[in-house]
């Protein structure tokens, strides 16, 4: 029995169509994408396409389920994006850069610890759920970096996180290449987490509205750090991330961002940034 494609009217026996559901959660998967794939290339295009479908008999998707749909689409596409960012991580990274526009800043990205590594390592994307801003100004001095790495590692263990990456925004606007410091720290992180990534902030594209992701992601291949294409799929929910980051930048929330340097100046300053975390949640 073939499945009927509403776009080209062809009968395709290997694909699974989108199917309707009365529940709020649609168990869509990669198979669903595959059905429409020949007709649309980009997940967002697919979204529009799906919204355009009023009904294909049993195979309609109700418009109010599009959030779940977009999540599924992003997940399906995730095979191209092994490390992805969540809004809290992206937000705090940009706030850190905005707080110290005249300095270089850096920090660590943390991900949730995955219990078992499945045989097919492409199955689940590693989601960077949070970031810890480290230093501003001089990034290249060893002792405090060691202290920070050890302390944050301990904190991660308690919260079932793992340090999964490192971010840096250079001092000069037009300079977005990872330097020796970035490579050294990332190498250290890679000892515990093989897929560690370096995220560099492209300062020249930092604006209040953040319409597009302004980071470059570098992965370690054959002893070199190579940048990969970044698009909105590298984020769990780009539209939310963009909206929240923009709102926080306009509201000058970066004045309240705490980095590890601030913590060393006054131990009461909390580098987990509970205040900013709460603001992010409030804006969701």
């Amino acid at each position: 029995m073939g499945n009927h494609c509403s776009v080209c009217s062809a009968t395709n026996q290997t694909c699974v169509p989108l199917y309707s559901s009365n529940t709020s959660e649609i168990p869509l998967g990669r198979e669903a994408l595959h059905w429409v794939d020949p007709h649309v290339q980009h997940p967002l295009q697919l979204l529009l396409f799906v919204l355009g479908i009023k009904s294909v008999g049993d195979r309609s998707v109700h418009c109010n389920e599009t959030t779940t749909l977009s999540k599924a689409l992003l997940e399906a596409d995730a095979v191209h994006c092994p490390v992805r960012g969540e809004k809290k991580a992206y937000c705090k990274m940009l706030l850190h850069a905005a707080k110290y526009p005249h300095c270089a800043v850096n920090g660590l990205l943390v991900a949730e610890k995955v219990k078992e590594k499945k045989k097919d390592s492409h199955s689940a994307p590693i989601l960077c759920v949070d970031c810890v801003p480290l230093f501003h100004g001089t990034l290249a001095l060893a002792p405090m970096l060691e202290v920070a790495l050890t302390l944050i590692d301990t904190w991660c263990k308690e919260n079932r996180y793992v340090i999964a990456g490192y971010y840096q925004a250079n001092e000069r606007t037009k300079d977005f290449r990872p330097n020796q410091v970035a490579e050294k720290v990332a190498a250290r992180i890679s000892e515990n987490f093989s897929e560690a990534a370096i995220v560099m902030v492209d300062n020249s594209r930092l604006t209040m509205s953040c319409f597009e992701p302004i980071v470059l992601i570098y992965d370690h291949h054959e002893n070199k750090w190579k940048s990969r294409d970044v698009n909105t799929d590298c984020f769990e929910d780009w539209l939310e991330a963009q909206k929240i980051t923009s709102a926080l930048l306009e509201g000058r929330s970066y004045e309240n961002l705490i980095d590890f340097d601030n913590h060393l100046d006054d131990l009461r300053n909390d580098w987990t940034n509970p205040v900013i975390n709460k603001s992010v949640l409030d804006l969701c």
Binding site: A140, L141, A142, P143, V147, L151, W155, E171, L267, D270
Partner: protein, 296 residues
């Protein structure tokens, strides 16, 4: 949008005093300076007397930082009217050109100043900053080295430590900090920074030197957390080194243990009452414990 005086319920004198404090502490909180300064100048300019000129300068530089060329130009024009032949104002014109990335014109301004007055430090610093902004790091370092050889100006040394760390000439950074420590023996920050540079350079001798300077920084300011952590780290690494004798090992373990107690105490003090900080305290305890294990 509410004015600064309304938002914070302050009068113009407090705004003026705040600007002075930021000037003295050399803070680079440009957004705040622009907010406060702009209001002060436009609403209370007549009351400021001669203070207004230095405030114009401060606000102008902050405005450049915030891309407020309109404000910067206004301030600059007032200063030019008042001090038509001043080198100091000419430097400000140069800085504005730098902000607009018109580096060649800016350099012409600075060269003109240096022709008139070859000892003008400010102009030289700006020229080096331009090289740095353009990414010409090797040239910037060369100019800086040349200048440092001829002039022992501590003001110039203060900006120097940032350069070498960028370009990994930690030796030069250490040299600059040594000069700074000589002229400012009570400054615990220079001691601590010097110790950090030595630690980064690595090697047993440098580690021992770094431990000594961390200890010195602590003597000057016993609340310097970086110095405390640094003392702990350097002592631990020395004790763990296979090249040291039994006595040195024992001494350093004692120092490290002392530092660990102090660190724990500092965290407990800071964490009194807050739930989140209790997590930090635990994390520090665990961190210190885990390092003890690797040490032995």
């Amino acid at each position: 949008m509410a004015s600064v005086s309304e938002l914070y319920d302050v009068g113009w004198e407090e705004m003026r005093d705040k600007l002075r404090k930021w000037r003295e502490d050399n803070c680079r909180n440009s957004e705040q300076i622009v907010d406060v300064g702009e209001e002060l100048i436009s609403e209370h300019g007549s009351k400021l007397g001669d203070d207004i000129w230095i405030i114009y300068e401060q606000v102008m530089i902050a405005a450049l930082d915030c891309s407020r060329d309109d404000l910067a130009l206004t301030c600059l024009q007032e200063l030019r009217k008042q001090f038509p032949d001043s080198h100091r104002v000419k430097r400000l014109s140069g800085m504005r050109l730098e902000a607009l990335e018109r580096y060649d014109e800016a350099n012409k301004h600075y060269d003109a100043i240096l022709q008139d007055d070859p000892t003008n430090t400010a102009a030289r610093k700006r020229k080096i900053s331009i090289l740095k902004a353009q990414g010409k790091s090797a040239e910037a370092i060369r100019e800086l080295n040349e200048y440092l050889e001829h002039e022992a100006v501590s003001v110039l040394y203060q900006s120097a430590p940032c350069f070498p760390c960028d370009f990994h000439s930690y030796g030069k950074a250490a040299f600059c900090l040594e000069e700074l420590m000589m002229t400012n023996p009570h400054n615990h920050l220079y001691c601590e920074q010097y110790a950090e540079v030595k630690y980064t350079q690595g090697g047993l001798e440098n580690l021992e030197l770094s431990r000594k300077y961390f200890a010195q920084a602590l003597r000057l300011n016993n609340r310097n957390m970086r110095a405390l952590f640094g003392l702990y780290m350097s002592a631990s690494h020395i004790a763990a080194s296979p090249k040291v004798g039994a006595k040195v090992k024992k001494d350093n373990m004692k120092y490290a243990a002392w530092a660990a107690t102090q660190i724990n105490r500092a965290y407990k003090l800071a964490g009194r009452g807050t739930k989140e900080n209790k997590c930090s305290v635990k994390a520090v305890e665990e961190m210190l414990e885990s390092m003890q294990i690797t040490m032995s």
